[in-house]
Symmetry: C2
DNA sequence: CTGAAAGCGCTTACAG
DNA sequence: CTGAAAGCGCTTACAG
């Protein structure tokens, strides 16, 4: 029972052997006599020795850890992704540093560089910033990065995206197929890659159906309660209102539902991103689902592939599919109330 | 542009100064001539040098990182807690290793000891295991641990809990106040501390009201869809069924709502734990809310307080309050259907 | 089968 | 104002 942590040196001294012999026993390298092994193990047990992995890894030139930069750890999308990354990392005996950029480019950079300063073996980033040039020296120095959900800006790197445009198009096609001609789009801030990609899918769907694109039916803004309330009122008000809404992401959908709960007649609705309880609400909420766990898994596998070999190959982009899940809200015809 | 990372030695060589001088400049220690400082900075810039924090911290005997052991990073409770821990850690220039025990004692132990092997400065643990004796050597060696949501077993350590019994009692009192006499309790597995504490609160409330405790109205089991379906059918079936349900946690509540969605008449319902969309459902779901972010914040603050001084003081337990949020489902009198 | 020396990339304690 | 030496706790490369 020492108060400080015993080291290999302490073990060696107690066992009366050289440092290297302790190292051999700890690493199970064999070629140590049974007698010596026993003495070393006894000393280890007596002192409660546990090897300092950080010191070992410093010598080996890696840290067996990766850095995961999220928008917000607390977000369901981020946390599902985190769990998937964790599970892959565990398979590679690697630990995960996780942190939130809070959708702030400066904070993303600070956090990412803090991870690099700890010499994480690699990075998985849900980017928020307007440039990732700051990563060039790190990547060049041998710290690979994989981007998820949004592509990096100004640099080339492995990326995992979903088919945002195709997913959005599927959502709007679905509403059109159910008779809607006036369809609103409520998206996140236009600085966010996925928001504009989904807007593009929305427009493509309208165009394919020969429907006009009417800017007064769209809104691209951070999904605060206030902003969403105004947007919903604008899009559902006026002389020729929308009869259906396409919500650009999870947080938009939830805020929209909150606003709609207080209104008499309800538009049809499809949301991008699935969410817990979407099936319990009445009507069930039709969504275009992406799979954050699959995104995390894919990104982590790409990263560990880089770490164990293919470090110089060209950057790859994987685009995962989305899936339409009809639950009721997206299948309502024009002018039918949602029913309380 | 070297392919490997430049070190202080490389910088010193290029600048034509000693290693220590580079260290001084990097640390802004002053007492370096302007001329020398400039040469060193030029070399740093030219080489793209970035100090290896891991090496620095090894020498300093700490890692400026903490380990966070959760039940499941992807769970909303865990992820809200994680974000709060992250924010406090950032204030202390510390990074966070996060990982999931998956409610498995063995995995909890492996993960926790992996963090200790990296010599994290401290631990925050949502415990799953049946004993934490394995932590004694680590704590003795100077790695403090703070437990959250559930107390440690077999050891003494700082702990952050909520008033589970009081919260449960508040929930059941509320249902009783609305006229209910037959109230079901659907809780998680009895091995989970919070499940039995909430059962105790349920029983205390019944007893205070002079109502009998009827085991046929209760269920304590992991909240799989299957188990919950059976439990709901049992508690709401039979000759003298429950008219109200108290759900022991988030996941139970969600599964119960899923089951109830397919049934004709609906019991009153109060859930322990708040959740997104509880206010959007019709009726709104009345809950006893705890504050996972506050729990994380409190735990992190206790940990950093230990790290910056009070290492030997007696273990403290903080018990945070819960809060009843009436939204409709908990205020329904007997025999009134929930509406669609 | 065993160990002394050098090194991972830094800082600390000393000496000038 | 500056730097050589020793050290953080391990492993690597060598030598016996």
């Amino acid at each position: 029972m020492m108060s400080a942590r015993p080291t290999m040196k302490d073990v060696a001294a107690l066992a009366g052997v050289g440092l290297k012999t302790v190292s051999r026993v700890v690493n199970g390298e064999g070629s140590v006599s049974p007698d010596t092994t026993e003495r070393v193990n006894a000393a280890i047990a007596k002192l409660g020795f546990r090897r300092n992995e950080g010191a070992r890894l410093l010598r080996q030139g890696r840290t067996a850890s990766i850095g995961l930069v999220l928008e917000d750890v607390a977000d369901p999308f981020s946390s599902a992704l985190t769990r998937a990354v964790e599970d892959i990392a565990r398979q590679h005996d690697s630990l995960v540093f996780a942190g939130s950029s809070a959708e702030d480019g400066v904070r993303e950079r600070e956090l990412t560089l803090a991870f690099c300063a700890r010499r994480v073996d690699g990075l998985i980033i849900v980017p928020a910033g307007a440039t990732h040039r700051y990563l060039v020296p790190e990547i060049t120095a041998g710290t690979p990065a994989v981007f998820v959900d949004r592509p990096p800006v100004d640099i080339d790197a492995d990326t995992v995206l979903v088919d945002n445009e195709g997913g959005a198009r599927m959502a709007v096609d679905h509403l059109i197929a159910h008779g809607h001609r006036r369809i609103g789009f409520l998206g996140d801030a236009p600085t966010i890659f996925t928001a504009t990609a989904r807007l593009a899918g929305y427009r493509a769907s309208l165009e394919a159906a020969g429907l006009p694109y009417d800017e007064s039916l769209t809104s691209l803004a951070p999904p605060t309660a206030e902003a969403i309330r105004h947007a919903v009122e604008r899009v559902l008000g006026g002389p020729d209102p929308a009869t259906a809404l396409f919500c650009g992401n999870n947080r938009v959908t939830v805020e929209v539902l909150r606003v709609l709960a207080g209104r008499p007649n309800q538009p049809a609705l499809v949301g991008f991103d699935d969410f817990e309880l979407a099936d319990v609400l009445r009507p069930g909420i039709t969504v275009v689902a992406q799979d954050p766990a699959e995104m995390g898994r894919t990104a982590a596998e790409m990263l560990f592939a880089r770490l164990s070999g293919d470090r110089q190959g060209r950057a790859k982009t994987v685009r995962l599919p989305t899936r339409l899940i009809p639950r009721g809200s997206g299948e309502m015809p024009i002018a039918t109330g949602i029913g309380t």
